[in-house]
Amino acid sequence: MPEIVEKEVLTPQIVRLKVIAPDIAKKRRPGQFVILRVDERGERIPLTIVDSDPREGTVTIVFQVVGKTTHMLSQLERGDKILDFAGPLGKPTEIEQFGTVVVVGGGIGTAVAYPIAKGMKAVGNRVFSIVGARSKDLLVLEHEVAAVSDEIVVTTDDGSYKRPGLVTEPLKEYLDRGDVDQVIAIGPVPMMFAVSELTRAYGVKTLVSLNPIMVDGTGMCGACRVAVGGKTRFACVDGPEFDGHKVDFKDLTMRLTAYREHEKQSYNQYLEYHGDK
């Protein structure tokens, strides 16, 4: 069972864990994720591998507490073990020298975008990053992203930190400058949709990372199916990254609501029992 060797509470809702998992650390490429389970009765949930250190055999995950499983995970401390931890899953991001790449991260999506920005920079791309959040206390990894970017713009919807407004505004400015070769956008579905619509008009290739509900993460169940270019694809094995101009975001939004009621019930029951922390 993988042991937690480092824990950092980044914001009241967002936690970073470093976990011992040598096999995964060795194999993992940017864009890939793990599936984990916290306890015997627990759900399997996917979380992106934000960073890895093959030499010390560790991987890092960053997650936002949104329901029962992420809440339970946030309660684990250094020295605790995670029951099941499988990966690395999904296709790695295609990292090549494209030229200029704009990486857009929204909310917790920045955790998913960071390893990609890092990978893109490492092979010699010019990386412009735009990191957005609803408000300052949901903003993560600003400094990590800055360290691997040629330029960084930080936005908050409510203007509580740095540039007020949505990520699409600075993105439009970059696009207007005319030298963007590729855009990668990861965050809430409406944000990825908005970015894809914007870049479509400029004809700039845009990758998005989709977050459908998953069970096994190995292509066995089909829970994670998404409609891309009129075809059904399984995000866990064919993705999670797809061409944003081909993704049916309406279908994705709809499928994400599947268990809303169950999720609320499960989380409320948990909070009632364990006390709201």
Binding site: E43, R44, A86, D216, T218, G219, M220, T257, A258, S266
Partner: protein, 471 residues
């Protein structure tokens, strides 16, 4: 004619096996058949004519001497019967429950020519359960050879290879992608047909013999087959054919449409029927349509009935005769209230504004000329579309190979549908030191065939390890 046959009076009817009543059993997930008592088993075994030609043995894919073990049951030598069965089949408690016996061992049984064939499956289950109660006959283990074999997947084929090779003194490590071992026996076939405790016992038995089982290891991702070959002297691939097939009809992404794999995995592996005590949710719809006619469809439908669904309809495009499911399953499902919508096929799934399934459109079929499978081909009847109101649809129309391993293993040849190409006798793949079997080898999809493949592979692997050359 055989003398013995003349001596015995032919008893045409089977000793019925106790079963839980339909109304009681649909309330829970406990096993449906109760199994024979010792007296019942002896009585049933006594119907066997012990005929010389043993057509039953030829009907069993692994060649169990059915007449032989049944004869031992009739004389009360149960331990002897267990031994005979286990010469060919290491997991009789499982096959006795899930083999399609009427197409296999029981099909050609001589008694069956006049009346009901001898209940070989029930007797196999009986002797296996007797062994479970009276202490397992642990096989002798050869001294350690210092060699080791890596096995991918913990389904019946992988478990069989593990059992055979550990007894020969080799080190054995199983790598399983999921968090629980057993393959389809755990995540596919439901508790009411194959109690998980039985599968767990068999797996614990292997662990006691020294088999190491590593969970959460996705071969092709966590490790590759080539890396396994660096750690082991040979590799067996028994990953099943686990990727679900959808029909490619409109509405398949609506909320409430499941692959049978997802539905059964949520229920069996993730225990979603105990939500919210267990965290994984699933819909407990009121009206469910299951598409398909095999064991997978029947298991999905009977699971739905147990989850408190008001009405479950099975939609199958041919007639009941052509259904590939085990006969017993069809009968049990019927008793439990499953509605059969035969000679029908879905054309689209219809949803409401929030993307939830509200109904399914079906078209009637008629049967034409026999197709390649020998079954009459269903042809849609123009203008016969009809609407069935449902809130959940389960697609149980088949599986295909998952390319995760084949795509990451150079030198491993697959056929055009993605099955791994193997030698039929040795289960050797095109890659030296690598063997494959079970559903991924594509010769058929049943527990006993997977075990048969596993046995052949283990024999060939042993030769390979001893001689250093592939067969």
């Amino acid at each position: 004619m055989d003398k013995k046959i003349k001596k015995k009076t032919l008893r045409l009817d089977r000793i019925p096996v106790g079963e839980r009543l339909p109304l009681e059993r649909v309330e829970d997930f406990r096993e449906v058949p109760l199994g024979y008592t010792l007296d019942q088993a002896k009585d049933e075994a006594d119907r066997c004519l012990n005929c010389k030609k043993r057509p039953c043995k030829r009907g069993c894919p692994v060649g169990i001497d059915c007449g032989g073990f049944v004869d031992r049951v009739s004389t009360g030598d149960i331990r002897g019967a267990v031994k005979l069965v286990k010469e060919k089949n290491l997991l009789p408690a499982i096959t006795g429950r899930v083999c399609p016996q009427s197409d296999q061992c029981e099909g050609p049984c001589l008694v069956g020519k006049k009346g009901a064939s001898v209940g070989i499956g029930n007797l196999e289950r009986f002797v296996a359960d007797w062994e479970r109660k009276h202490g397992e006959v642990l096989p002798d283990k050869a001294p350690p050879t210092g060699m080791s074999v890596g096995i991918v997947g913990s389904g019946p084929s992988g478990l069989t290879v593990a059992a055979d090779l550990i007894q020969l003194g080799h080190g054995v490590t199983i790598y399983e992608a999921l968090h629980e071992a057993g393959g389809v026996l755990i995540y596919g076939i439901p508790e009411f047909r194959l109690p998980k405790a039985i599968v767990a016992e068999q797996i614990d038995g292997l662990r006691r013999l020294g088999v190491e089982i590593k969970l959460n290891q996705i071969i092709g991702k966590t490790l590759t087959v080539d890396e396994m070959l660096e750690m082991h002297d040979a590799v067996f691939i028994g990953v099943g054919a686990g990727a679900p097939i959808f029909m490619d009809i409109p509405g398949e992404n609506l909320i409430g449409v499941y692959s049978a794999n997802e539905y059964l995995t949520r229920s069996n592996l993730m225990r979603a029927y105990s939500f919210p005590e267990w965290d994984t949710p699933m819909f407990l719809g009121k009206r469910i349509a299951v598409i398909g006619g095999g064991n997978v469809a029947m298991d999905s439908a009977r699971t739905a009935l147990r989850l408190g669904t008001d009405e479950v309809a099975l939609i199958y495009r041919r007639s009941q005769e052509e259904m590939p499911s085990r006969d017993e399953e069809i009968r049990h499902a019927e008793e439990e209230g499953l509605k059969f919508e035969l000679l029908k096929s879905p054309t689209r799934i219809i949803g409401n504004g929030s993307g939830r399934v509200t109904s399914i459109e079906l078209i009637s079929m008629e049967l034409g000329e026999p197709d390649a499978s020998g079954r009459r081909r269903p042809i849609p009847v123009a203008g016969s579309e009809q609407i069935l109101e449902v809130d959940t649809v389960i697609m149980a129309i088949g599986q295909q190979p998952n390319p995760m391993i084949t795509a990451t293993t150079p030198g491993l040849q697959t056929d055009k549908r993605g099955y791994i190409v193997v030698d039929k006798e040795t289960m050797a793949t095109t890659k030296a030191g690598v063997y494959a079997g079970g559903d991924i080898a594509g010769f058929g999809a049943s527990v006993i065939l997977a075990m048969g493949d596993g046995r052949k592979a283990a024999t060939a692997i042993q030769d390979y390890l001893v001689s250093g050359n592939p067969l």
